[in-house]
């Protein structure tokens, strides 16, 4: 067998086994998106209610003076929570987030604020430690299936950093928002100091004037951390769904590419085989002719 033929056969075999892997990854990702989307949906009622409660409290106690809502006049340090994935195989997912995080850092530095990265996901941690950057906190191992406990851990660390004497003055989240199966967008959100997002429904009706049990201060004390947790949890869930969606997309194009490669290689291999056969035939014919000539010369 010709050397070229053997080479092509080997390449086809290896591409085929790669295609099998990428195809499997694609199928796994597509089945997990559904689950991740369901979890995102399931978290919506809580998020909606807590946003409404916070809006209610903040808007009708205008004199509210809680450490978590106060904006410092001269912020010097900002925590940036970067939500990446634990595994690769998901196209530009992590690169996009890290690029956006870099842009935010540059922006903050321009304003005289030192950014402190807090990183979720092995990929982001690797990226930061490779560059020797110090991280305020890091968490990994749950990027594709986060639970509320994880969000709580992260929120606790961030709120502690925010409340500390010499801590951060702002908290931003850089994460991927799940818009649809096909579109995911990297978004930067400021979590603290609090900017309460208005509920889209019924903007005209005045918010009810709440009574507080036991007191406005006590309610805020426990409501605001929960609100931050819920925002982080929602970011984690969306990021997980987006991770699966972009993995599915990346793996689909990888599978398509592999199939295309197999097609091209098969064609080349067939050509090479044809050429080899043709060559063999002409060698045999040539040999036979030579034998016949030699026999004819003897007579």
């Amino acid at each position: 067998m010709g050397a070229q033929l053997r080479l092509l056969r080997r390449r086809i075999k290896s591409v085929r086994s790669t295609a099998k892997i990428t195809r499997a990854q694609e199928l796994i990702a597509s089945s997990r998106i559904v689950k991740a989307q369901q979890r995102m949906q399931a978290a919506v009622p809580y998020e909606r209610e807590i946003t409404r409660a916070v809006t209610g409290v903040v808007s009708n106690t205008s004199s509210v003076d809680h450490p978590l809502t106060v904006t410092k006049e001269q912020p010097t340090k900002a925590a940036v929570l970067i939500v990446t994935s634990d595994r690769g195989f998901c196209g530009g997912f992590n690169a996009n987030i890290l690029r956006e995080a870099e842009a935010l850092s540059t922006l903050l530095k321009g304003k005289g604020i030192t950014p402190v990265p807090f990183v979720v996901g092995r990929k982001g941690i690797g990226w930061h430690s490779f560059r020797g950057r110090e991280m305020g906190g890091k968490w990994d191992g749950f990027s594709d299936n986060p639970s509320y406990t994880h969000a709580k851990q992260i929120a606790d660390t961030l709120i502690e950093a925010f409340s500390a004497e010499d801590g951060v003055d702002e908290i931003h989240i850089v994460s991927t928002g799940f818009v649809s199966m096909l579109t995911q967008e990297v978004a930067v959100k400021r979590v603290l100091p609090l900017v309460v997002e208005e509920t889209p429904e019924k903007p005209d009706t005045p918010l009810p004037y709440f009574e507080f049990e036991p007191s406005a201060g006590a309610v805020l004390d426990s409501l605001l951390p929960r609100y931050v947790e819920s925002r982080i949890f929602s970011a984690l869930l969306q990021s997980a769904a987006s991770e699966h969606a972009s993995r599915r997309r990346a793996m689909k194009s990888a599978t398509d590419n592999a199939n295309e490669l197999i097609r091209v290689f098969t064609m080349q291999m067939n050509q090479a085989r044809q050429a080899e056969i043709t060559q063999e035939i002409s060698e045999i014919v040539g040999g036979a002719n030579a034998l016949a000539d030699a026999a004819a010369g003897k007579e």
Partner: protein, 135 residues
């Protein structure tokens, strides 16, 4: 009579929603009963409380163990935002009893074990929600 629209939600899922005549929950200040046309209230719920929803109309009461969170009432809508919640019918009684025993054992070993105290409170709430008698 007007009915209350009640939603019990935890961060991970919506636990129950429906209509009811009365909701009884335990805030830090004490038990609070909400009936239709109640003034807007935002309350902080205690760790390991039991929530009772009286559905009326011949339906049995809904009982749930609620661990921390908030109660918000506005406009005949009651939302219970629980950090963790479990319907009485979903409680695994054997597991809760087990958890209570373990927590009590570690409290006996170490009086200042705050985690175990919380754990015991939760287990008690779960058992009460499931309709079990606990001391």
């Amino acid at each position: 009579m007007a009915k209350l629209r009640v939603g019990v939600v935890s961060p991970e899922r919506e636990i129950w929603s429906g209509e009811a005549d009365m909701v009884i929950a335990k805030t830090i200040d004490g038990e609070i009963g909400i009936m239709p046309k109640h003034a807007p209230v935002l309350g902080v719920l205690v760790e390991g409380g039991v929530l009772t929803v009286k559905r009326g109309g011949g339906e049995s009461d809904l009982v749930a163990a609620v661990h921390g969170g908030f109660l918000s009432v506005a406009d005949n809508e009651v939302s219970i935002l629980a950090e963790m919640a479990e319907l009485g019918s979903e409680v695994d009684v054997a597991a809760a009893k087990d958890a209570l025993q373990r927590a009590q054992a570690s409290i006996e070993a170490n009086q200042e074990d705050a985690d175990a105290a919380v754990e015991a409170k939760r287990a008690r709430a779960r058992l009460r929600a499931a309709g079990e008698e606990v001391g």
